[in-house]
Symmetry: D2
């Protein structure tokens, strides 16, 4: 990346909502450093959304808060601006409302993703796909010791995907002859998948999914060190959203 990235003449014009927030700042930097995207509007609390349309934004990225994101979405869709949303708090009811707004604007696309980390999303996809081919599977996630929950949300979500895939494939419980266990040694049971949460200084955010069958193991590991790791996923969505009219949930569909 360079500060003075030369822009393509047909660069996509991008506005950022929540531009002064932690994620918004990163998004602005990432767009600015990319040749086929042009940052045309940085908008935060107190600024009008009109700045986005006035600047000719074709795509808006929203990293704001649950209390304002619905108004932002409604306004952008009505303006014919496609939106990439990283803000949380989307219930099924909210998604229905977004679909309603989009139904009247057939050319507009919206991508709402709970996780823009391409590595994490691929790890979960691969884990889900491998699940039915291995009798054994366990998850080991490793995080810094300031984390409050164990296991992590990503580990729990991965375990659920694996548990569903195993059930659909008719797999029995993973073999385990343990009869003599110091409490906790075998980890937490999440949908039939054992999950181990390691906490240590020096760690950031890591997860390993270990699959085993007779004579072989397959391990999928994701290491995340930095908020910057979400940017490739955001840029991918920005580039893709105008070609995906309607509502797209999650990064998965964009990775195929």
């Amino acid at each position: 990346m360079t500060d003075e990235q030369e822009k393509s003449p047909d660069a996509i014009r991008v506005g950022v909502l929540g531009a002064r927030g932690r994620m918004g700042i990163e998004v602005c930097k990432a767009v600015d450093a990319t040749g086929d995207l042009e940052l045309v509007a940085m908008i935060d609390q107190g600024d009008g959304l009109f700045a986005a349309s006035d600047a000719g934004a074709e795509v808006v990225v929203d990293f704001t808060t649950p209390d304002v994101v619905m108004d932002n979405l409604h306004w952008c869709i009505d303006q014919g601006i496609s939106v990439v949303v990283g803000t949380s708090g989307f219930t099924e009811q909210r998604l229905e409302r977004v679909r309603g707004w989009l139904s009247r604007m057939p050319g507009v696309g919206v991508v709402i993703a709970p996780n823009f980390g391409i590595g994490a999303v691929l790890m979960m996809q691969f884990a889900e796909k491998a699940a039915r081919h291995f009798e054994s599977v366990e998850i080991i996630e490793q995080h810094h010791p300031r984390k409050l929950d164990a296991p992590s949300g990503t580990a729990t979500h991965t375990a659920r995907l694996i548990g569903q895939a195993r059930a659909a494939a008719g797999l029995a419980a993973a073999p385990d002859a343990t009869t003599d266990e110091v409490p906790g040694a075998r980890g937490a049971d999440v949908d039939g998948v054992r999950v181990h949460a390691v906490r240590a200084l020096g760690l950031v955010a890591h997860q390993e999914v270990l699959f085993g069958t007779a004579g072989e193991t397959l391990t999928i590991r994701h290491d995340s060190y930095d908020r910057a790791s979400f940017m490739p996923g955001v840029l991918l969505a920005v580039r893709a959203v105008r070609n995906r009219p309607g509502l797209t949930i999650g990064l998965d569909a964009l990775l195929d």
Copy 2:
């Protein structure tokens, strides 16, 4: 697995060609230990193929040698028996002949796979899929020190798949500022992918594909300890082959 596995009444009847070879022995044991498969014929050099049809084999598994496998295939297809082939030496010309035989027997299926290790096949699938989402990728394969080639055939094949996927996605060369290299430190260049081959006593057969982008890495690792690791892939093919008329090459299609 148990020695006295109770068989389902509608178990698939399986014959094994090359039943006294290293792989054949394992296949016989694996079939025998599986409830929905029944081992009805063990055939090796000097035995007639008729033993398979006489025993009512519905599927034959062939781990023989390149000089007899074509005759085996021709005979089985003509008998209406589906075949799972682990024998090597299939040229495009040979595959054409097999397709010709199969065209006259629309209900018969043949699966020919160079690698029955589900873990290895999935590793390559996942690597190919992840390839276009990460600027950086390197392969580290680790084997016992009696191995003659470096890198391994699997590593070379994986590198080629990744190289093609990167080219198709328009990815530039992976970033690398190295100006001062002790010869060999940066590994071998296989289709633009750096491959490192580690050799040490104690190792068996391992491979790691490491993908990197800003702030995160994704690693796919396969560890193989034992010939037994090929059996789940063989059994998968045995179960699937009758429902896949015609020729199927590779395990990939069966894993989806």
Copy 3:
């Protein structure tokens, strides 16, 4: 290794007790394949111990059973033969008796080791040494799913060594902000060290000790695939035992 290893003229003459047991067979093969050791007696149930002295054994390796090992030891020491013992069941009382017998034979050495795996012993040594330099430490052990206990004996022993080293260094409990835990996620507490036990097909016997402090982690990992892994430790002891009069417990002292 070769079957016809040429022997050095001053090779150490070695007898094996329990020569037809699983470990004894391996020991015989390993001694036989080593140039500076010569296998002069293979003794098992029903054979007389005199075979060892008749053959001029200088060192005897004992992989027998707790009910005969004390008689074996007594006899060997009285004959002036040094002994390497892998048999289990040594209480402090038994060790005292061995020391008594040895006190009358100042030239004889006995090495009794609960674990002849050099890798495992070094892992524990290094873990103990690193323990007081890192605020955080956790153990992840991984085994095949037929194992009955969780965590493994080696993991429990390692945790105790680390716990003692931390206490001696005045280290407080490892930092851990977890407030919301699915039961078992954070592993078992063994002497203040969190231990996670993974069980999966395809695994053999593996252990990872992860140390962490601000900005860095140090990981010591041991992978054991085979009974053969104990042989280098046995040979090391055979070579060293005559130069270590008296009783030596554990392989540690021999590794320095």
Copy 4:
């Protein structure tokens, strides 16, 4: 760590030279956050060294530059202040001069260390110790792709230590049957040890030393994410230096 760390009444009084440099800033923060150390002087270019003695500094930490560090050392030693030095550029000649100054001040200690990462230092110590017990050993180091040299200085240094230990133990070359190598696949040869350098976005600074013998491997891995990882080593030296009169080179001696 807290911003308002309560200080012990007998906290060691510490001055920092190069206090506004990248490392100096970290040292000041680390000392400030530690109960048994008190930051009494922050000195940088343009400031007089007298500030250290005026403030009653008992230990000075020097992260300055090779052109001023000798004057700093001379002055501190003459004042009876012990010094911990992270500045580079120490030739044998320079070390001799420091020893000369120290010889006249028997109560003063100086610790000069090229690497204050406790994890890295322990990794090298353990690797050196394990070296003579394993026939096979290889090093895999992994860094961000902006790095100019391959392999890294730490990897080269580790390989040298291992090579010397192997030579001293009379070990032959590691077994390797490779006859068919794509150039570079087997890595660089550094003192008989194969070293592989991986470069990928997302990586920071990592090194793995893999030892192998029949049936087992032992792996020592160090992951460094942050300049902060050097602070525990600096603090260790600050606490120890006054009890180690004379010159101490490297962190090793302080870790025992």
